[in-house]
Symmetry: C2
Subunit: 458 residues, 2 copies
């Protein structure tokens, strides 16, 4: 039985706990309505609170509104809380120069996290299944991803859970028929991603002619690659702790200590260092990792290896010094970097954001530093530049205000506004770095976890 399969998968992977409140992202298609239906059936056994959230993308007009109506009726029938939001995807995409697909994803997750906060939910469940997993694998393989990319979708990722990563699409379709759910539409024909659709509708059926169980084969491979990759990343972190030192915007690596390590481990270490420097591995490919490794053995003190994003490596007396170069500052377009507690990240303009836990607040002056209440943080913290529609509740002010208006009030020149870093968590904006703090996160006498944020400009 499919419900037992999903239940077992959820328990094995710790997707939820007894008494949890869960948001189900539900488009009204077969995958997500089946997810809503199965989670509803598990509700009593685990005393879950199930909340259905439907984002109407505002792309397909009337048909779109009927999807919303369908999900709403399902919720009424089973007495489930229903949240609906009409997203303005096309205008958001236009204003932020994003693809429709990316814009839709950003707005959808913004909406889901808003509902999550409003309702006190702990997780958001999405209906990704094994066929999605295989499609993602193939997409990454074709584009040329490393083992990170080939690892695919994970059952748990932050506050997102995927209870259906144990099911094939055909099982879900059978379930919908069996329980007469009459899903509104086939999501497969809806995706805004042309390449993804081609993989789904042409490539996978083609591969199934070689092996009817090819989705299973690919998912098994993805799982093994994910496990191996995770293991090597753990080993690389150990190597990092032993041989690297982070200092402001540089990371110093003792070359001699790692020269005899296995190439797989060294490569993972290089990727880890770059991630710590710039928050992601964007534009870092196979050939860059290769170049770094050659540089480890061939360079001499003073020689420099230039990498994308103004990252450069300098040889210096038995060390490799990874640094953000100060020459040739290039302002990048949109960025969005994850920042870990007790770490610093360097932004494309070489300014540095630091976030660290401190015992108690100390004296600071100016707008380039602030304290926030660590217990109020939701999910991971990111640093990004502004997006259209950004709002916050400025400290010392009642109510919300558009970020754009804050910039105008503070007389920040229009051409600089895109370069101002916003520190955000999954709830919203924490700090317009150097400009304005949000009132929600401010500390008071009851705060137990004090977090210090700073912006340093080079």
């Amino acid at each position: 039985m499919m419900i037992e399969k999903v239940e077992k998968f959820c328990l094995n992977n710790n997707l939820f706990k007894v008494n949890d409140c869960l948001i189900i992202a539900c488009s009204g298609g077969p995958d997500s309505i089946a997810l809503a239906d199965i989670m509803r059936r598990l509700q009593n056994k685990y005393n879950l609170k199930i909340i259905i959230a439907h984002a109407e993308h505002g792309i397909r007009q009337e048909s779109s509104l009927m999807d919303a109506q369908y999900v709403k009726e399902y919720c009424i029938k089973y007495d489930l809380p229903f949240y609906l939001e009409h997203l303005k995807v096309p205008s958001f995409a236009r204003e932020n120069k994003l693809s429709m697909e990316t814009a839709a994803r950003v707005l959808r997750y913004r909406f889901l996290r808003k509902i999550k906060e409003q309702t006190g939910a702990v997780k958001i469940a999405t209906a990704h299944h094994l066929n999605d997993q295989a499609e993602t694998f193939l997409q990454h393989l074709i584009r040329g991803a490393g083992s990170e990319g080939l690892s695919g979708i994970k059952p748990v990722n932050g506050d997102i859970i995927r209870p259906f990563l144990c099911l094939y699409r055909r099982e879900i379709e059978t379930y919908c028929e069996q329980y007469d759910l009459k899903p509104r539409l086939d999501e497969t024909n809806l995706s805004l991603d042309y390449e993804r659709n081609k993989i789904r509708l042409e490539l996978l059926p083609e591969l199934e002619r070689y092996n009817i169980n090819v989705v299973k084969s690919i998912c098994n491979s993805a799982k093994i690659i994910a496990e191996q990759n995770d293991y090597i990343n753990c080993c690389a972190q150990k190597l990092y702790d032993e041989n690297c030192k982070q200092e402001k915007n540089t990371i110093v690596l003792k070359s001699e200590a790692i020269k005899k390590e296995h190439i797989a481990l060294k490569s993972a270490l290089y990727r880890l260092i770059i991630k710590k420097m710039q928050g992601n591995l964007e534009n870092i490919g196979f050939k860059h990792i290769d170049k770094i490794d050659k540089f480890l053995y061939n360079g001499h003190t003073g020689s420099i290896l230039q990498l994308p994003h103004n990252l450069r490596i300098e040889q210096s007396y038995g060390n490799l010094i990874f640094q953000k170069s100060c020459e040739d500052i290039v302002l990048l377009g949109n960025y969005n970097f994850k920042i870990e507690m007790n770490s610093t990240i360097v932004l494309p303009d070489n300014s540095i954001i630091e976030m660290k836990q401190v015992d108690k607040p100390f004296k600071i002056k100016g707008n380039n530093e602030c304290f926030i209440d660590g217990d109020k943080l939701t999910g991971t913290v990111h640093v990004r530049n502004r997006l259209a529609g950004d709002k916050m509740m400025p400290k010392g002010l009642n109510g919300t205000k558009k970020v754009k208006d804050i910039f105008i009030d503070r007389k920040i020149p229009a051409k600089l506004r895109d370069t101002v870093p916003l520190v955000c968590d999954e709830r919203g904006i924490i700090w317009i770095a150097g400009v304005q703090q949000d009132s929600y996160y401010t500390i008071d006498e009851n705060s137990k976890s004090i977090v210090y944020l700073s912006l340093k400009k080079l």
Copy 2:
């Protein structure tokens, strides 16, 4: 320039050394004639001796003979030693119940190794290139291989080297045109493997419509997976040395010591143990590794997990005991297991072959033990059952004799002949276990490395 690219690749991967004698396997197709041509051009610079070997498969009659003629003429033109053999693939395939493709491969490598021995060559070069690599990756992905399979073809594997694993097919074709080599045929249309041909002629061109550089993408992924896999296997070997004990036909693993290890490392350890038990991972899939890991945590003393090939695992007071079960002996068809020095392997009928280095010969009696000269071994040692056409030079006899005739002379019943293990290296048969030793490998007063072989029947 292509020749510099190949030269650099060979040097970086240590494919040959100065003064080496190399066999080039040359079908007369574009890939292998280009390989012959490039190795010929590198000949003087590295003082190589290049020998061309052509196996005529006896499948396509006249066209096949013209291929041989073409390669021969090339060799005459450039004054290269040329070896030709007419293989009897169809009858060999029939007699040994092999696919035409497998039969052709077995006979081809047998021929190449014979020439290698006759000429004192040290390596055999084949013309596998990056497109072959991508095809192999896809074939394994579709069939559901683990990371081992996805690692693909290696630049060096035993005595085989692949100087072209840095080139795309189109580069090779361009080279052939440029130097007017007029290759005899397009090997791509020749392969006996239907699935492989479909991948080459349909799937890869299809994938190139998503990304014109998809072959590069796939090869990069394969390389990273190969490196990571190799690293994890090294870690697993360390874990094995610390926590496993091999005793005759069992391997005892201290369960408690590995329970906290990473799943990727444990999985690699299970695969390593099974490989040591039966020489390969045949019929061991994702689900078996999964089952073993669950068994590690859930079993209690006395509980047993049954795996394919009569392999079973027993829980016993904090240990997992891997063993070949003695019940339900099933005689398998053809087998071919690698055996490492100082190890034992268990054959499908539960008899055990041991191979170990000893200081000096000791007294033995009967035919179930023998000594051989370790310095005379070529490449890896395998244990397999007989194949049609097997020959050896029986100890104490001048000249070669068919294995079949030896069996007849010794009055070994026909129905048992397929179960008699033959210990072989890449040169030929070392020992018909329990029956007859080959004279080439026998020890004398000058032997410096004494290797003891034994057969134990259960």
